[in-house]
């Protein structure tokens, strides 16, 4: 086995045992943070499916919010189980993605313009949620109707450990999908498209089909992430789940980690969440705004000084250290 | 006047020029010919500072150009008329010429330079207020040349001036370049139109896959031989 695999297996074992490790009074809090990391890493991974091919979306908040609100509204109004609600949410989001992606691809809206179009889509969804305040709760948000007792059908559990394992599985599933896309034909095609669309089309790559496919996949996975988040937090709000703020946060985390590697989105998400939590704990209710100020400042510094992302830069460093070692062993 | 010794340059991991050595004397006209993709444009860009040379020396009138940015190179008296003309399409012809005289020394002599350019290319005077993008291909090439002259250069780099022009216009353009030359400018020209350009210049270099393959006086070089060589690989 390669050393990478050993480390991976060990890490996975620790994560699987996470909830039973002794953590004193911190257990609930640690689990809470880890769940957030898993869910947002999954969402970041979904974003990077598009981002790495040059489709920089600033509107993933739209997909996230659509997923979260759909499942919450269906449960609150009709008592539809989130399992089915989630399917409906993913389907709806795919349709939205299709409606956006098809013309974008057809009319070659790329680069900055693609980012701005998706940003507009994110704003539209956020504003629609606020405008339809009669049944969405508007900017005050909406609580998930509590089920009287733990229920698999309602996807509601009092014990955080259930959510912990569920989100761990979700995260692993996200990694698996990422890996499959990375190894597929689609990747070669998408990379060619990202480089030069006209050239890709000229060698027979169906540009529109690939772009739509990857966008729909990315969007529906994001919606699933929104469903998971809504079920866990049991409260949805247009400003935290839709709009430009959350979209930017997703992109930040991914770019910070490095969007071209399997674990990049996870590293970036873990770091931004840990940082956010740390600042929140340090400042508490004092100096309101200070935590976010430092967060913003650090983001700027990271982007300037680690343009390849943390994971990417780290790997470069490790490769740099490993190379002389390998040379030495080769000489022996 | 201009001397390149052992210049190597490229893009990223790709090397487009290998160990290029080349000389242009004051008052000379020199051509660089070679098939598509042989590195001619890269050579011009290295001289004008748009691409940094990795190794080698670039000396212009005794000053090293190594590490100079494009906007500094112009001040030394080198004007680069880039491939595809690259005029400012939404600026008027007059404003294009004004921009040509951007550097301070040239700006002082603006009126005089413009009068000279208009004498050389009267059509530009007629079109002074039109957007440059509305000119015909030949007129745009004249504008690009005129704009370069506005910087009061000593050496003019011309990258494929005849590109995209109808054959009749090509002949006229070469005639104009000849007149520019007679005004005392030194010229380094890159061309695919080997037959024409050899009539214009004193010496020529043949570039192939990033290396200088041949060098000689234009008159002495057998035209047929040169044409054949230049188009190997086309």
């Amino acid at each position: 086995m390669r050393p990478g695999r050993v480390v991976g297996a060990a890490l996975l074992a620790v994560l699987a045992l996470g909830p039973v490790l002794p953590m004193g009074g911190m257990r609930q809090y640690v689990l809470h943070v880890l769940i957030q990391i898993f869910v947002w890493s999954f969402i970041g991974g979904a974003w990077s499916l598009m981002g790495r091919f040059g489709l920089v979306s600033l509107g993933h908040g739209a997909f996230l919010g659509l997923g979260a609100y759909t499942v919450t509204l269906l449960w609150n109004a009709y008592g539809l189980t989130p399992w089915l609600g989630g399917v409906v949410a993913a389907a709806l989001t795919s349709v939205l993605a299709l409606v956006v992606a098809y013309p974008c691809s057809r009319f070659q809206v790329v680069g900055h313009y693609f980012a701005l179009v998706t940003l507009a889509v994110g704003e539209v969804v956020r504003l629609l949620i606020i405008a339809e305040r009669n049944w969405t709760g508007g900017s005050l948000g909406l609580s998930l109707r509590a089920s009287p007792h733990d229920s698999v059908l309602a996807m509601q559990f009092a014990d955080k450990r259930v959510f912990y394992y569920a989100s761990l599985v979700l995260w692993l599933a996200g990694l698996w999908i990422w890996y499959r896309v990375d190894r597929s034909m689609a990747r070669a095609a998408m990379e060619a498209i990202g480089e030069d669309e006209t050239a890709a089309a000229s060698v027979g790559i169906h540009v529109t089909r690939f772009k739509m496919g990857i966008t729909m996949l990315s969007a529906s996975l994001t919606a699933v992430g929104g469903v998971a988040y809504a079920q866990y937090i049991t409260y949805v709000n247009p400003d935290t789940l839709a709009g430009i703020g959350v979209s930017l946060r997703i992109v930040f985390a991914v770019v910070l980690g490095g969007m071209y590697s399997l674990l990049g989105p996870t590293v970036g998400t873990a770091l931004t969440i840990a940082l956010g939590e740390y600042l929140r704990v340090v400042f508490g209710l004092r100096l309101i705004g200070m935590a976010e100020t430092i967060y913003g400042l650090l983001l700027i510094l990271f982007i300037i000084f680690l343009p390849a992302g943390i994971y990417g830069s780290l790997r470069d460093v490790v490769a740099g250290l490993a190379r002389p070692a390998r040379l030495a062993s080769g000489l022996r | 006047m201009l001397e390149l010794r052992g210049v190597t340059a490229g893009y990223g991991h790709f090397t487009a020029l290998w160990d290029v050595t080349l000389r242009v004397e004051a008052g000379e006209a020199v051509a660089v010919v070679g098939p598509n993709g042989s590195g001619k444009t890269t050579l011009m860009r290295v001289i004008s500072g748009l691409v940094a040379a990795r190794t080698g020396e670039l000396v212009f009138e005794g000053n090293s150009l190594a590490g100079r940015k494009a906007h500094e190179v112009v001040r030394h008296g080198i004007a680069h008329v880039p491939e595809g003309r690259r005029i400012f399409p939404r600026l008027s012809v007059g404003d294009n010429l004004r921009m040509g005289a951007f550097q301070p020394r040239a700006r002082q002599a603006f009126a005089e330079s413009r009068a000279r350019v208009y004498d050389l290319f009267p059509v530009l005077r007629e079109r002074e207020r039109q957007p440059a993008g509305s000119l015909s291909g030949g007129e745009q090439q004249m504008l690009a040349l005129g704009r370069a002259l506005m910087s009061r250069p000593k050496l003019i780099l011309l990258d494929e001036p005849s590109m995209g022009l109808a054959p009749v216009l090509v002949l006229r353009l070469f005639e104009l370049i000849r007149r520019v030359r007679e005004e005392g400018y030194t010229i380094l020209v890159v061309e695919q139109n080997v037959r024409q350009v050899l009539k214009l210049v004193d010496r020529a270099y043949l570039l192939e896959v990033g290396r200088i393959r041949m060098e000689g006086r234009a008159a002495a070089l057998s035209e047929q031989d040169f044409v054949r060589k230049a188009y190997v690989g086309l």
Binding site: Y113, A120, L127, I288, E292, T293, P307 | S151
Partner: protein, 288 residues
Amino acid sequence: MIDPIFLLEAAVNGILLSGVLALLALGLNLIFGVVDIVWIAYVDLVMVCMYLVYFLVMIYGWPLWLAGLASVALGALLGLGVHLLIITPILGSAPVNQLLATGGLLFFLQSFATFLWTTDHRTVRLALPILEVGGMFLSFVRLIAFAISLLAMIGLWVFLRRTYIGTAIRAVSQDREAMALMGADPQRVYLVTSAVGGAMAGVAGALLIIQYSVHPFFGAAFGPLTFMICVLGGLGNMVGAFVASVVMSEIISIGGVVISTEMGYVIAFVVFIVMMFVRPGGLLVRRG
């Protein structure tokens, strides 16, 4: 049925709003066109300038016109600062990184404003009359703000058309490399552009604080709209920016009266998305 006079009033208010939006879109457009980077935090700079005018006028008792000039100066300084500190190091980076660096600035400015000035809404109230014209109520303040934004736009136009450096800025936006061959140091042109763009934000800030209240999230409310108008106007097209601004302001203003404020914005954004498909070069430019 809505009284037609309300619609007319909304339409007039839409036009009045369009002035300052056009100004902002032009400032952003200038920077985007020349430096090729979208300043996601552009309207957050406006927010900072609004606070400046608020404090100078309400706390320190400066006359409004002087505070307005200070706002323009601050805007220009902020523009220079953003370019030197944030943009210059990432000029060669991937477009995502460029978006994110100014996005980080957005987070920073929003939260720092929250930290310094809390989330209270603040306004500079002017004792100027409300005019009644044919049954419509029009704010004199807005009329003045509109007039000044028109003047600022004309000023920008003259700067870009009639001055040497202004022409150079337009030239760089058309062909950066060719302009370097003319002897222009791109970095210096960028700096001038960023200062001018920042100054536009300063003008807009002074004009906005007398009409709307400022709070740390002001940029979030006006930012997306500004990007859309900027793009709809078409790069480097001043008339286009104005037309786009009028169209978007009218949709928002009339939509706000007929349906609801949010739906007004929704319709405006949908129009933007659709226009991106049919007129990607801007409202006034045919696809081609």
